[in-house]
C-alpha cells in the first residue's frame, strides 16, 4: 500500500507541490524589508563604523603614538609616524587609516591604552573619488570632535563590560 502511495506521490510531483505551497504561503507573508534611508535598524553601542580620534576635555589629543593599533591591525590599514613635541611628549605627526583596507574588526580600538582611536556608529559615509576614503589625522580628529558626545556615551555604556 505504501509503495502504491509512494508511486503516485512521485509521479504526481507531490513533493514539488509541497515546496511550491511553502513559497506560495510566503508570497502573502508580511514583508520584513527595512526601507533604509527612511527606516533604520537599531544599532548597538558597540557598533563599529567610521573611525575617529578623540581629545581630552582640555582639547589635548589623546593619542600618544604608541603604535599598538598599527601593530595589531590585521589589514595593515594604519600608518603612524611620531616625533617629540616641544613639551617633551611623543605625538603623532601622521596618523592615516586607509578605509578601503580596513575590515572594521575593532582591534585598534581594543588595543588603544588611552581610548584615542575609536569606531563610531557612522556607517553612511562615502567617497566620490579615489583617495577620499584615505583618512588622515586632521580628518579623524574632526570626526571625533563632531561626534564626541555620542562616542563618550557609547564608551560609558560599554565600560562595565571591560
Amino acid at each position: 500500500m505504501e509503495k502504491i502511495t509512494n508511486f503516485f506521490k512521485t509521479f504526481l510531483l507531490f513533493e514539488l507541490v509541497k515546496g511550491m505551497a511553502l513559497t506560495g504561503r510566503y508570497f502573502f507573508a508580511r514583508k520584513i524589508t527595512v526601507q533604509f534611508p527612511e527606516e533604520k535598524t537599531p544599532q548597538g553601542f558597540r557598533f563599529r563604523g567610521l573611525h575617529a580620534q578623540r581629545r581630552y576635555a582640555s582639547g589635548e589629543e589623546r593619542c600618544i603614538g604608541c603604535k599598538l593599533c598599527e601593530a595589531v591591525c590585521p589589514a595593515l590599514a594604519i600608518n603612524i609616524e611620531t616625533e617629540e613635541r616641544e613639551d617633551g611628549t611623543r605625538r603623532t605627526t601622521r596618523y592615516d587609516i586607509d578605509l578601503m583596507k580596513c575590515i572594521f574588526c575593532g582591534f585598534c580600538e581594543e588595543s588603544c591604552p588611552v581610548d584615542a582611536i575609536v569606531e563610531t556608529r557612522i556607517l553612511e559615509y562615502h567617497g566620490e573619488k579615489r583617495g577620499d576614503l584615505y583618512y588622515t589625522k586632521p580628518m579623524l580628529l574632526a570626526v571625533g570632535d563632531k561626534y564626541e558626545e555620542q562616542i563618550a556615551k557609547d564608551r560609558a555604556a560599554d565600560a562595565k563590560y571591560r
Partner: protein, 350 residues
C-alpha cells in the same frame, strides 16, 4: 471592431493598391511585437517582484510608483553601456549571435492566435512551424558560446545545446499528442477542438494531463529557466554563454529568454488550457473578450515560471539529462500510444 478593421483594409487597398499587403502585414507585425516588448520589460519587473515577495522582501520599489519605471531604467542603462568584444573572439559571429537568439523567439509569434482569427499567419502547419522556430533558438546560444573565446561561455553553450536538443524531443512528442487529439496542426483549430459545452473540462489538459506536465517542465528547460538554468549556472560557470556580452548585446539575450518564456506560456495556454476560450461558456464569463482569457492564461503560466524559480534549486547536469531521456521521452512515447488507442474507443469525449 471587425467593421472598423474591414473599413481600414478597404481604404488601404484603394489607396495603395498592390503595396497595401506588405504595409498592412508590417502594421500587424508591429502590433504584435510592440506589446510583446512591453510585456517582456514588465515580465522582468514581475519576476523581481514575485520572487521578492516569496522571499519575504518587497522587490524594486524606488524607480517610479511601485517600481513601475524600473524596466525602463534598466533598458536605458543597458543601451548606454559599452559593448566589449573580447580579443581572440570571432567578431562577426560574436555580434550575430544575440540576433540569432532573438530572431526565432520573435518569428514564432507569427502563427500564435490571440483570439478567434486574431493571428498574423493562419497556416496549416502552425505547430510544426513553432517547433522548427523554437529549435533554432539554440543557435544563438551555441554560437555565442563559441565566438566568445572563453571557457565559461563555451561550457555554458555546450550544456545548453545538449539540454535544449534533448528536451525538444519530449516537447515534440507531447505536442504530437495534442495534434492527435485535435486532428490538426493549425493552432486556431486546436483551440476550436477544445471548444464545447463542457467549458473548462473540454480542454486538453484533462485527457493529456501527463503531457501537460511534461510540456510545462520541458518548456522551462527549453527556455533555460531555473531550475534548469544550467546554461547560466551563475554559481558554477559565472553566467554561461553570455559572460562576455555587455550592453545591448546582452540585452538581446535577455529579451530572447523572456520572449521565449512568453511564447511557451502562450503555447501552453493554446494547446492545453483552451486558448481564448472562457472557462465556462455562461453569462459572466463569455462577456469578456477572448483576448482577455488568452492573456489571463498566459499570465498564469508565466507566474508558474516565476514560482518555480523561487522554489526549486538548480538541477545537477546528469540528473537533468536523466530526466529528459529516461523519464520524459519514454513517458511521452507511451502516452502517444495510449492516446491513439483511447481515441479509437467510445470513452474519448474531447
Amino acid at each position: 471592431m471587425m467593421e472598423l478593421l474591414q473599413a481600414i483594409e478597404q481604404m488601404g487597398q484603394s489607396l495603395l493598391g498592390v503595396a497595401w499587403v506588405p504595409v498592412w502585414t508590417l502594421v500587424k507585425i508591429v502590433a504584435i511585437v510592440a506589446p510583446l516588448m512591453i510585456g517582456i520589460a514588465y515580465l522582468t519587473l514581475a519576476e523581481r517582484k514575485v520572487i521578492g515577495y516569496m522571499q519575504v522582501r518587497i522587490g524594486p520599489n524606488r524607480v517610479g510608483y511601485y517600481g513601475l519605471l524600473q524596466p525602463l531604467a534598466d533598458g536605458i542603462k543597458l543601451m548606454f553601456k559599452e559593448i566589449i568584444i573580447p580579443t581572440g573572439s570571432n567578431r562577426f559571429l560574436f555580434v550575430v549571435a544575440p540576433v540569432l537568439a532573438l530572431m526565432p523567439a520573435l518569428a514564432a509569434w507569427a502563427v500564435v492566435p490571440f483570439a478567434d482569427g486574431m493571428v498574423l499567419a493562419n497556416v496549416n502547419a502552425g505547430l510544426l512551424y513553432i517547433l522548427a522556430m523554437t529549435s533554432l533558438g539554440v543557435y544563438g546560444i551555441i554560437i555565442a558560446g563559441w565566438a566568445s573565446n572563453s571557457k565559461y561561455a563555451f561550457l555554458g553553450a555546450m550544456r545548453s545545446a545538449a539540454q535544449i536538443v534533448s528536451y525538444e524531443i519530449a516537447m515534440g512528442f507531447a505536442l504530437v499528442c495534442v495534434l492527435m487529439a485535435a486532428q490538426s496542426m493549425n493552432l486556431g483549430d486546436i483551440v476550436h477542438g477544445q471548444q464545447g459545452k463542457a467549458g473548462l473540462f473540454g480542454w486538453y489538459f484533462i485527457p493529456l494531463f501527463p503531457m501537460f506536465l511534461v510540456y510545462l517542465i520541458a518548456g522551462v528547460a527549453e527556455t533555460n529557466r531555473a531550475p534548469f538554468d544550467m546554461a547560466e549556472g551563475e554559481s558554477e560557470i559565472v553566467a554561461g554563454f553570455h559572460v562576455e556580452y555587455s550592453g545591448m548585446a546582452f540585452a538581446l539575450f535577455f529579451l530572447a529568454e523572456y520572449a521565449n518564456m512568453i511564447l511557451i506560456a502562450a503555447l501552453t495556454s493554446i494547446m492545453f488550457l483552451g486558448g481564448w476560450l472562457p472557462p465556462f461558456d455562461v453569462a459572466p464569463f463569455n462577456w469578456l473578450p477572448g483576448l482577455f482569457w488568452m492573456l489571463a492564461k498566459m499570465s498564469f503560466v508565466l507566474f508558474l515560471f516565476l514560482w518555480f524559480r523561487a522554489t526549486f534549486p538548480r538541477y545537477r547536469y546528469d540528473q537533468l539529462m536523466r530526466l529528459g531521456w529516461k523519464v520524459f521521452i519514454p513517458l511521452t512515447l507511451i502516452w502517444v500510444v495510449v492516446v491513439g488507442a483511447w481515441m479509437q474507443t467510445r470513452f474519448w469525449l474531447w
